[in-house]
């Protein structure tokens, strides 16, 4: 059984992004490339590797892993890979500038990021996405897009336009609390919120539905918090080193 799902649009999309990025930075320097390419590689793997098959048919916890990467890991990597000069040039265009000014407002970006995460776990919506492919693709896109918007004030390419330290910490802490609450609810809550996982084609690794849902909740809870915590730690470290540089 081939568990890999080489969806052509995904492969093509990642390839185009990769080649496009390469063309862009070829002349100006590859120093941010590792971030972007890592993000891209993770994106590809996230959507074509067995994670995808497991997520769609077998395990709720695998689906959590997939969304987790889409919303919390891949966007910051991609953002860190965008060179500053590119962002500045792009944002000189009036439409993009206005877009960035509205969506980049911390309350907006926070609500979009956290709201999307919470909304898609409402059973009606989650189950609908599992049932309809087009909705599922839309779901994944929203995670990527709102994830990127969420992380923009924290790791956006223009360092001077990022949120100051205390605001960043509160921003990330607030999101961490929401993520934890959702994760805790899924861990302790009633089983069978997402009926598709009650009877998978095969029971893998001895995970019954209760353990599976618990595991999913806990992956969201603890590793999720770890991502936000890493963001907090790196924000504080940057705050200290910027003082040294300014001195």
């Amino acid at each position: 059984m081939n568990l890999w799902n080489w969806e052509p649009s995904v492969v093509a999309g990642c390839a185009i992004l990769g080649v496009g990025y390469g063309a862009l930075v070829r002349k100006h320097g590859w120093n941010r490339a590792p971030y972007f390419l890592a993000g891209l590689a993770l994106l590809l793997l996230d959507l074509v590797s067995p994670i995808d098959t497991l997520a769609d048919q077998y395990l709720f916890s695998a689906h959590i892993v997939q969304h987790f990467l889409l919303a919390l890991v891949i966007p910051p990597l991609l953002l860190l890979g965008i060179p500053r000069w590119f962002a500045e040039t792009a944002l000189r265009r009036p439409k993009l500038n206005r877009l960035e000014r509205t969506l980049g407002q911390p309350p907006v970006s926070w609500l979009l990021g956290v709201g999307t995460m919470l909304a898609w776990h409402i059973p009606t919506l989650f189950n609908a996405a599992l049932a309809h492919d087009s909705l599922h693709i839309f779901q994944h896109l929203t995670f990527l897009v709102t994830g990127t918007i969420f992380w923009w004030p924290i790791v956006g390419p223009q360092e001077d336009r990022r949120l100051p330290m205390l605001a960043s910490v509160s921003y990330l802490f607030g999101a961490c609390v929401c993520c934890s609450l959702l994760g805790a609810f899924l861990t302790f809550g009633p089983v069978g919120l997402y009926p598709a996982y009650l009877n998978p084609p095969a029971r893998l690794w001895g995970l019954d539905p209760r353990s599976d849902q618990q595991l999913g909740g806990m992956l969201m809870w603890v590793p999720g918090c770890f991502v936000y915590l890493s963001g907090i730690v790196s924000t504080v470290m940057r705050w200290y080193s910027s003082a040294e540089r300014a001195a």
């Binding site: 802490f173 353990s211 809870w221 603890v222 907090i232 504080v236 470290m237 200290y240 003082a243």
Partner: protein, 529 residues
Amino acid sequence: MTSWLCAIDHKRIGILYMLSALLFFLAGGMEAMVMRAQLAAPNLKLITPEIYNQMFTMHGTTMIFLVAMPVLTGFGVYLVPLMIGANEMALPRLGALSFWLQFFGGILLYFSFATGAAPSAGWFSYAPLSEKAFSPGVGLDYWALALLMIAAGSIGSAINLIATIATERAPGMTMRLVPLFVWMTLVTSIMIVFALPALAASLVMLLSDRMLQARFFDPSQGGAPLLWQHYFWIFGHPEVYIVVLPAFGMISEIIPVFSRKPIFGYPFVATSTVAIAFLSYGVWVHHMFAVALGRNFLAVFAAASMLIAVPTGMKIFSWIATMWGGSIRFTTAMLFAVAFLLEFTVGGLSGVAFATVPVDWQMTDTYFVVAHIHYVLLGGTVFALLAGVHYWFPKFSGRMLDEKLGRWSFWLIVLGFNTAFFVQHFLGLLGMTRRVYTYPNLPWFGALNLISTIGAAILVFGILLFCANIAMSLFFGSVAGDDPWNAWTLEWAASSPPALQNFAHPPEVRSRRPLWDRKHPETADWMRV
């Protein structure tokens, strides 16, 4: 006398906290000695089991809530305004109220002895033992009410410290330039704001069960004892960092001065403190590994618990790196600081051992845990406090502590402490459970317990010597100047003891070591990057 009772000057409040803590420390120490006497040999019957239960309950409650937290608050309240170049705390009357709430909470707790039954369900009072049905006496009611008062006082002083650090810093002292003791105190205070309310909520529910016929924790009526454990440890785990972070701050001030080197990696020490603060709210379940919560659940918390050792370890490396290549001066303060590094590391390692679930399943509620908590709390917090007292006593009193007496007390305390508690690791591994009032004559149990009791006696003697040193030096100690240690932070610019108005003019601050800059204008910190 009335001037002390009505004091709102932060220095007086600080001293009041320290004296109160000392009083309760002696009480808690007596409770410990009663226990150690009872455990000196198998099958002793010096006290009844009921009295023994009261002893360990009161000992734990006293040491955590009436000694460790208040004394660290006291040092914070005394030193923070001085270190940031301020003349007073932001909310002085709140500061006074907070002290008296804590003090009267302690009196209320100890009043329970007079009613015939002090609380006896352990310092974390698990349900359903804490319910009226199983603890019918009034002891636990006193315990809960007293702790509510103490918690309120703690939150009050935390608010005061946060407001002070946020608003009263001398011009030029940005948040990135504050002394590490101040930074740690700030982080600790924020943690108190987020953790102590969990204790308050738990206590309110317990009192509701006991007095108002609620049924939160009583399983026979549909309640959940586990809820108490969750809520208590959601408070309890951050709490243990609350009692250790300010101690880390003290060490971060003392080691550099007696190594004649600035602290190594200030940003790492400061950032790792933030990491510890956040992480500490995500590991509480490791106190509950043995209550059948489900393996996946335990695995996740085990991983998080191991993770939290990393930022703490970073600090240890930082302190050692500070000493490396420095010109070390082994004053008594420095001796305690170095001992702290060793003892706390031992305690930290035994803690990480507990993060491994199967190990925890064997070791929890044995003397291995007792050894762990005393290595981190006594070897950690108390040793750091002893270092702090020896370091800052000249500032508080204008007199130097006697170095010879200091050395004697140091060696006796180190000998006594390690003798008393190192063997408890083995007792735990051999299977001796905690909170037992006696034990059968199993191989090694008697011998190791006797060694532990003897160690405790030596420790007590060392502590008494330390107290004698303080008493003597207050009257006969040599006069300290403003800056006996040639240190670098702003408290040493004030007189010893400081005048009511700490600083006549706001001091000039351009780096993390303002006094170094003042004394060495050619090689000031702010000149180099």
